[in-house]
Amino acid sequence: MCREVSIEVFRYDPGTDSSPSWRKYEIPFEEKNTVLGALLFIQEKLDPTLAFRYGCRYNRCGLCSLEVNGKPRMSCHSYLEEGMRLGPLSKLPLIRDLVVDRKGLFQDLAKYELFIEKNTDNTVIFEPEQGAKLRGCAECLSCLAACPKYSFGSDDFGGPFLFVKLAQLHFDPRDKKDRIEQAHSLGINLCQDCKKCYCPNGINIYRDAISTLLKVKKND
């Protein structure tokens, strides 16, 4: 008999279930299988009703973020291990099973004007290296799940995702708004010395985004 990997997956339909449950699944062992590989196996072979998002299958699209043993991870580039517990990103409203509601994040782009003005002159541009780095943010929203202070829907504290957006714009020579001021009005001072934000794609959110927005204000 072939070896199996046993995992638990969070199942909950807020519309019909009285409470969430953790369901156990056995996945045939495969060398270097991923968490996403396990979810795809469950959907195809065991239970097509399992709800989860995914897109590119390796580290580009930012859709397959979830929590592995309570920590935010991308399911496509996390190797599958025995005994893992897979749950949804905890800080966002749940739709069903592993799927959270991401729509609010798009609405925030308009609400906080997280874009450059129209008709900028793009001919000669010097972008700092930090800005280019932050352009690699896959918008997977894992950082929100790792943040101890973020709460969805609260205007008091923007959270690391918005702070990365603000820093991206701060570093963009075309942007005219005062993003540092904006970051402070969204409570970035609460981030001082916290450093608990985490990015599964290797962006150092505290160093490259948050500390820049914090530091400049202090020196004013």
Binding site: Y58, I95, R102
Partner: protein, 559 residues
Amino acid sequence: MRVESCDVLCLGGGGAGITAAVTAAEYGANVILVSKEPLGYGDTRISMGLTSFPGVVEGDSLELFYQDLLKGGEYLNDPELAWIMAEMNPFGVQLLESYGHLFQRNNKGLIGSDVAYLIGGHSLPRSIGCPPGGGISMGNALRAGAARSNIRVFEEVLASSLLCSGEHVAGAVCFDICRGEVFLIRAGAVIIATGGAGWLYYPHTDCNSGVNGDGYALAYNVGAKLIDMEQVQFMPFGLTHPASVCGVYVGEPSLAAPKGLIRNRNGEVILSGLGTMTRAQVTNAMAVELSRGGGTEYGGLLLDLEPNLALPEGRQMWNVRKERGQLNIVRFAYGEDAYRWKKPWDVTPTAHYFMGGIMVNTSGQSSVPGLYAAGQAMGGIHGANRLGSVSLAELFVFGYIAGKAAAKECIGQKPLDCSQGQEEAAGNIKSLSGRKGLYSPLVLQRRLQKTMWENVGIARVEKGLRTALKEIEEIEETCENLKIASQISYNRDIVHTIEIKHMLTVAKLITEAALMRCETRGAHLRLDFPEKDEKNWRRNIIVFKENNNFKIQSEAVKF
């Protein structure tokens, strides 16, 4: 049933869809954009971000770029569309930057010759990048551009069919995936920007999971003509294992330059000098070897990059790729030695892009009144093979063209009556939930994908194509007997059902066109007709539906 109304309805939330929607709004239209995934999370985002930008290197010109497009496309291109592509390419690049993207600059702050890459099939370096974010930065910028505009965005909504008022397209039946709701959108014009159909070849595709060819089927079902659907570009180097990353892209021919080799299972060299070859040339050579039984236990061939390490420029290439993060996936799947090019990579071609698509005129208008297409969903620009990095610029050029034309057509027009067939079309989706049949729609997708890869993939013969047509027909019949879950929110069975119907339609169009083209040209390799037939086949293949019957015909190219 909820009914929404707009002037312009744009289907698709990637580069072409967002550009079309934002442009239509700028020209005064009331716009709704519908995206099957969260907005901006599709193939544009997962691309490497290399974008054509002719003219950065001395000696380059629009005319030379245009000639490269035709030569690369083996002269199946629509010359008018290819010329627009060349002429408006610089504009497209600027348009994307105006949403917030930034391409890499040199030390003078300019997009100059020193930041341009040479990619296979281009006669000069004219591809610009944006490391380290690549397409991710484009996706972010597109979302920002959409948020800046006054368009209404419906995320995770899928169109199941188009509605017409007489001959004119007048809206769509839509399914909201998160809410489980069927609703209608009435529109004066519809732009299809849903991308390609790489997922027909899953797992052998590097496309995003939503890329099922929905737009081709929607357009075909209302009578639109589609062109050269047999021309499916397979990127030569995709992973073969482990299963969860099979098909993921690891590089294009230029990756192997200057000294990389492709070997078969016995270590025999089957291809060298890859750096200057087009994607189609490399893929076709690999397909021939695989069909001879030269493949490994994983169904791949061995890409041996180690010879490059003997040369300073080869070692430099390794560094460049490492810096850009392009080798991480190889370390993840094949380990440290493969990452360092000390061990060959097991690779097989992977479905990447559809050159074919909805036939449009120079305004992006299809053969059906009120129906437009842009981006990969449209066909004709690239003929039989697309040159690297042009597909991204294409999104912004043709998204802009379609958005502008659609807005001009319908602003100030009275809303059309789309009640014809709407109840039935909506009822078809509403009645899916909780069906107690035998077959899982996802398993049917897998069955179709298997036959497409085996019989309508990188190497085709008449017998295999006929096998595929038979299999498609059988799966169609099986679709009458589906087992569908009854959850309201995020019911993937319903999504998979809408998709499998679209996929079957598109699979048939590809297979029929592949059967008709009795030659080998560009991405279309017929092992039973291994030569290019210039005398008989400088022709485009057009498919459409007439009086509810499938029609196929060929037309001389427009040169």
